[in-house]
Symmetry: C2
Subunit: 313 residues, 2 copies
């Protein structure tokens, strides 16, 4: 598998009269995504597509990407008639693909496969955990207290998502400290997989007032840590027990999990979130001379952490 | 955010003559996904959809999910005309949605947001790293040696994906040992985000013969560790340097990253992959009495690891 996301400026293909225009990608494919111009009717589109497919085959293109906006939704049936399959869709368009070579398998990359979620473990100075009860979903009416959870939004780091969800659901201001565990699971909504990060947040200084998100919750409270771990819903389930073992170690100061930093990738000006453990962490920070920002740890916090966990580099 | 994936058996809604049939979900919504039966023509579908929408509004449904298979691709335009947006698509269907309430915001969960990738750090007994050169993609023709990478396939654990990619690309048999780092980044292919796991694999015992995947690669070799770290392409980039710091610590035996176990969730018979650090790891294993399988670590390996990293529980 060599398709690497985050690619590269597409190359314009030379235009030909009466045919659909596209841009070449890095994989000998063509992206057809400009429907500002005619052909206007669905029947005209169907004709243009037939002619284009013949021309694209002659040119040796492999994968064809056809991006139809909602304004061209009546083209979709004709694209399928011409041999296209659906690839993915977002709110305002559907992407269809077809693979032209007959002598090798379809190498087009799959659609996004995972949703990413976060759960936030927030302790106060009385060793109480921040917990909520949900109004809908599979736990509706079951009386289960759970840590605040939510889905990572498009373009959002898991660290940011955890802070946002806690603030939205409970009114509590807290900042990312460490990743305690991750769970990958399959066969979720619409067949997708789910990557769930259990994240420890540190309360911001100052008074904190609980404010429940009325839309989604029926309860929010601080719950004594041992009472939380003893909840029957989770206490009997191995996966939850293991997550709680990480939370317990964190609460006892014996486990810090993974830190996070935003680091320059060297591709454009992008900075990406990197999560990694303590030993490499200190080594990396020393090499960098501290030029990149620590996430959710001030200098004092980072220093204190160094004593708690691993690290004999 | 309270939509939690992996839900729940839908409830059949009471059928009404002439209207599209659906199943209720856990969120006061309706899923319309059975087009085995008539209406047959696109025009008949458009009529049935209009009547159905009125009935669904009267009943107080919120989100409507309309799943059209490729065999009904000519319905798509009519669904958009009736107010539906695209939500997502897979190869053989497109899912459209509409939100009926006018007094509150659209609460439908987003489409899958991430692709998940793996990179595999494999060392041999001579302190050489397994590296490849890719035939296509952004590194084409640049002569860069990199660790084998690839996308996680639908339903596949990151641990399995790393083992599979290494075997497919290089012929080398190796097993998951630990996660060294994770990188989250945004704005990749089709606007999706990317979660990339850097995973250490341990060579399986016995002779290993390099076998290059001709389709995707132009080179595969074992490269001295320090030569690999010194590659100009990566040595100047903070994100890569930090990842290499984790790899270096791992190679030196001072960093084990995160372990993995398959654990019962207690929902159906599902076992999910959980990744977590050393301190919680030992505590969890002790509590479990070893009933769940360790991934990629035999008992001896797990014991030896205990000395290398964190963990004063």
């Amino acid at each position: 598998m060599s398709w690497s996301a985050g690619d590269a400026a597409p190359q314009p293909a030379a235009p030909q009269a009466g045919l659909l225009q596209g841009h070449e990608d890095n994989y000998d494919g063509l992206i057809v995504d400009d429907f500002e111009a005619p052909p206007g009717t669905a029947a005209e589109f169907a004709d243009a597509l037939q002619g284009s497919l013949a021309a694209w085959r002659d040119k040796g293109y492999r994968g064809i990407w056809l991006k139809l906006p909602t304004t061209r939704a009546h083209y979709v049936g004709h694209a399928v008639d011409a041999g296209f399959d659906f690839h993915h869709a977002e709110q305002d368009y559907v992407m269809l693909t077809t693979w032209l070579p007959t002598d090798c398998e379809n190498k087009l990359p799959p659609n996004a496969s995972h949703q990413v979620g976060v759960g936030a473990f927030v302790l106060n100075e009385r060793r109480e955990v921040l917990v909520v009860q949900e109004k809908s979903g599979p736990l509706r009416g079951k009386g289960v207290w759970k840590m605040p959870t939510g889905l990572v939004q498009q373009g959002e780091d898991v660290t940011e998502a955890a802070e946002r969800e806690v603030l939205e659901e409970t009114g509590v201001r807290a900042r990312f400290d460490a990743v305690l565990a991750m769970r990958q699971a399959h066969g979720f909504a619409w067949g997708k997989s789910d990557m769930f990060f259990v994240v420890a947040l540190k309360l911001e200084p100052g008074p904190q007032v609980l404010q429940m998100q009325e839309d989604e919750l029926v309860g929010v409270r601080w719950m004594p840590l041992e009472e939380y771990f003893a909840e029957p819903f989770t206490a009997a389930r191995p996966l939850f027990k293991q997550i709680h073992a990480a939370c317990r170690a964190y609460a006892n100061g014996t486990y810090r999990g993974l830190h996070g930093r935003k680091l320059e990738t060297g591709f454009s000006a992008r900075q990406d979130l990197l999560l990694f453990g303590e030993a490499a962490d200190r080594a990396g920070a020393d090499e960098e001379g501290g030029q990149d920002a620590w996430i959710g740890l001030d200098a004092a916090g980072a220093g204190a952490a160094g004593g708690g966990a691993a690290g004999n580099t």
